[in-house]
């Protein structure tokens, strides 16, 4: 196995930041760590990147115990921290040169890699400007670029799109895909369910320091037997309305909250009119309707009873 994590624990005094997680990373895949803030994603990747030591557990990279021998992974690792980790008073070029040299690049090879990476991250025309003059999105892209220069075999990105504009976000997501195509394995942490869905081959869902589920998107959806959902907001809810909806053969579950009715159902075209007929018979006024396909947000909700962004 490329990267193997077993029984990993990290406690900060009484806080169980990571509480005994196991997962594997296959070479060449993009694996996502999905979870809300405080789930333990950043602590997990800090341990994988050798920045902090776990209280217990093991991390093997290509068969080497990197807790005992951090050097075994450091040269192969490109780490993109959640916060921008660059020298603001230096130019983008000076920053890239420095981080490249740290990983042993020099001369023409370094210049060539800087040219290549700055094209991927889209900052070629701003390379000579000071980083403190960059926009937030550009800083994030340069932050990624600094981790890519030495052609790392494994790249860890810690929530690289938090707080940036949609354009830069798309650029970053495309860059990650491109990096992966060139052969790097990617570990990507996020609390944006959409990013994990579109980017990752496999997803590990974390909550409160524990790994609560992992697999492909379909495997995760199968875990909870998820159906399509429709959420109706009506003028008032009464028992007869709920009973009539539950009687419909394509409805599998009905939940209510305030004036909202969440219905799990088989969302075919003909079923919409049948549902509307029930509302009409009950003389209830429909205020709004929201149709939802099952997603990771719903998986998280089903497994933890909380929304991903809570």
């Amino acid at each position: 196995m490329f990267l193997e994590i077993k029984g990993l624990k990290k406690y900060f005094k009484d806080v169980k930041a990571v509480d005994g997680i196991d997962f594997n990373v296959k070479e060449g895949e993009i694996i996502g760590l999905l979870g809300p803030n405080g789930a333990g994603k950043s602590t997990t990747i800090s341990m994988i990147s050798t920045l902090i030591k776990p209280n217990s557990g093991s991390i093997y990279y290509n068969g080497e115990d990197i807790i005992k021998k951090p050097k075994a992974i450091q040269q192969d690792l490109g780490f993109v921290p959640q916060e921008v980790a660059l020298y603001p008073t230096l130019s983008g070029l000076e920053n890239l040169k420095f981080w490249g040299k740290i990983y042993g690049l020099k001369g023409n090879k370094l210049n060539q890699k800087i040219e290549e990476i700055s094209e991927i991250i889209g900052i070629t025309d701003r390379l000579k400007h000071k980083v403190e003059k960059y926009s937030g999105g550009m800083k994030r892209r340069l932050n990624i670029g600094a981790a890519l220069l030495h052609e790392p075999k494994i790249i860890i990105l810690d929530e690289p799109t938090v707080g940036i504009d949609p354009q830069s976000r798309n650029h970053i997501l495309n860059s990650v895909k491109e990096i992966n195509k060139k052969g790097s394995t990617v570990i990507y942490t996020t609390h944006y369910m959409e990013e994990a869905e579109t980017l990752c081959n496999r997803i590990c869902i974390m909550d409160r320091g524990k790994m609560i589920a992992s697999g492909t998107k379909d495997e995760l959806l199968d875990l909870i037997n998820a159906n399509d959902r429709i959420e109706l907001k009506v003028e008032k809810i009464n028992n007869s309305l709920i009973q009539e909806i539950e009687k419909l053969d394509f409805v599998s579950n009905v939940k209510t909250k305030d004036n909202n009715i969440v219905i799990e159902w088989e969302g075919k075209n003909g079923n919409y009119s049948k549902l509307m007929n029930v509302l009409a018979q009950e003389k209830n006024k429909l205020l709004s309707m929201d149709v939802k396909k099952p997603d990771l947000e719903y998986v998280f909700l089903s497994l933890t009873g909380r929304a991903l962004r809570d």
Binding site: V84, L86, P88, E94, K101
Partner: protein
């Protein structure tokens, strides 16, 4: 490590305002104090003549000829007021019967009155001893000469004869000062220099350089804040190399500042650093090393640059005070304070640089102080590394 060192030196431009201010402050003080060393500063003393004889007038004339102090003759009450008000450092009282004591070769009726002991009073005492020795020897020589001539039956104007011989004798002493040993201690031969001035000059140079060193070293906290520190820690470069690059860059910044102050002080303001400036630079280098490592330890104790900014002035001002940068340790009598002074790098650097400038110590003679400073630096370095390891 070389790449990290080059980067740190490049990043020194971020600290340029602070470095410039600290250098300029020290240079301004160098200018002010070296101007004083040019002879414009003279401690004032008062002379009270209760004898009012020709001999006491001759002594007063001798004292007024001295270039290190400015003196004026006052009544006893006025002199007392001036001393109490701090307008003069002390007074010389020529008591009644001074002439008779000279004539009878008895102890001279002279005393110094003062409010407190100071370096200036010690110097006044030494100078007065020299003047009195010269005065009594010249006077007795003149008197013996007059006696000798009269014994031979030659008729002379005795008073005139004594005066002439006295002047001849005093004039001879100008070229062969019998108080040479004493004059070296107070640097009388080098007219115009003043011990307290060179002390303050070195003290302020050390004091201001510590601020630059500790704040440049404190950039480690800035790196932690901007996350570049964490990024370096997970790179293949060893932690020791990362930390050493910080220490070396800080040392270079601190020593460069000190070097500029020493050289500008020497060549532009005429500050006398002694016969071998290299010895002074060796001591400054050892001091910069010790303070660099001290800064590294402080940066390991505090968590943020803001905490560093609030704690550093307290540490540096108090250690400079304890170490004698603000006033000479010679006037401190408290044993606990003198013991604490030994724990500061300032004391070892200041005392030895001062003695090197005054007496021209060579490398061998400053080995102890240099060794103590390097030892302090190593202790701080080990403590700093331990703290950094804990923080990481």
């Amino acid at each position: 490590m070389l790449n990290m060192l080059i980067l740190k030196l490049k990043l020194l431009k971020d600290d340029k305002i602070m470095i410039i201010i600290m250098t300029v402050m020290a240079l301004v003080l160098t200018f002010v104090f070296s101007s004083s060393m040019g002879g414009t500063y003279k401690p004032s003393v008062v002379i009270v003549d209760n004898d009012n004889t020709e001999l006491s007038e001759v002594l007063i004339k001798e004292m007024k000829n001295n270039n290190l102090f400015s003196s004026s003759v006052e009544s006893y009450d006025d002199a007392k007021s001036l001393i109490e008000e701090g307008k003069v450092i002390g007074g010389v009282l020529i008591k009644k019967g001074f002439s008779e004591s000279i004539e009878n070769k008895e102890d001279m009726n002279i005393s110094i009155f003062k409010v407190k002991d100071s370096m200036e009073i010690y110097q006044l005492e030494n100078i007065l001893k020299g003047i009195l020795y010269k005065f009594s020897t010249s006077y007795n020589t003149a008197k013996m000469t007059a006696d000798f001539i009269e014994d031979r039956g030659i008729s002379i104007n005795r008073e005139q004869e004594i005066k002439d011989v006295y002047e001849l004798s005093a004039d001879y002493w100008k070229y062969k000062n019998p108080m040479k040993i004493s004059s070296q201690v107070i640097d009388v031969t080098n007219e115009g220099s003043y011990d307290e001035i060179i002390h303050n000059l070195i003290g302020f140079t050390l004091f201001f350089s510590t601020f630059t060193i500790v704040f440049v070293g404190g950039d480690i906290l800035q790196e932690k804040k901007q996350n570049t520190w964490q990024r370096k820690l997970i790179s293949p470069v060893s932690k020791v190399s990362i930390m050493m690059s910080f220490i070396i860059a800080t040392f270079i910044a601190g020593f460069a500042q000190t070097l500029i102050i020493v050289l500008i002080g020497n060549y532009m303001f005429g500050v006398d650093w002694g016969p071998d400036i290299m010895v002074v630079l060796i001591l400054f280098a050892a001091f910069v090393f010790a303070v660099t490592c001290m800064g590294f330890t402080i940066a390991g104790i505090v968590k943020t640059h803001e905490q560093l900014s609030s704690i550093v002035p307290i540490i540096l001002v108090s250690s400079a005070m304890l170490g004698g940068c603000m006033w000479p340790l010679e006037i401190i009598t408290s044993k606990p304070l003198l013991f604490l002074a030994n724990l500061t790098p300032h004391k070892w650097a200041l005392q030895t640089i001062k003695r090197t400038a005054a007496f021209g110590l060579d490398v061998k003679q400053v080995l102890t102080a240099t060794g103590v400073l390097i030892f302090m630096g190593i202790i701080y370095l080990l403590a700093g590394l331990k703290l950094a390891q804990r923080n990481n």
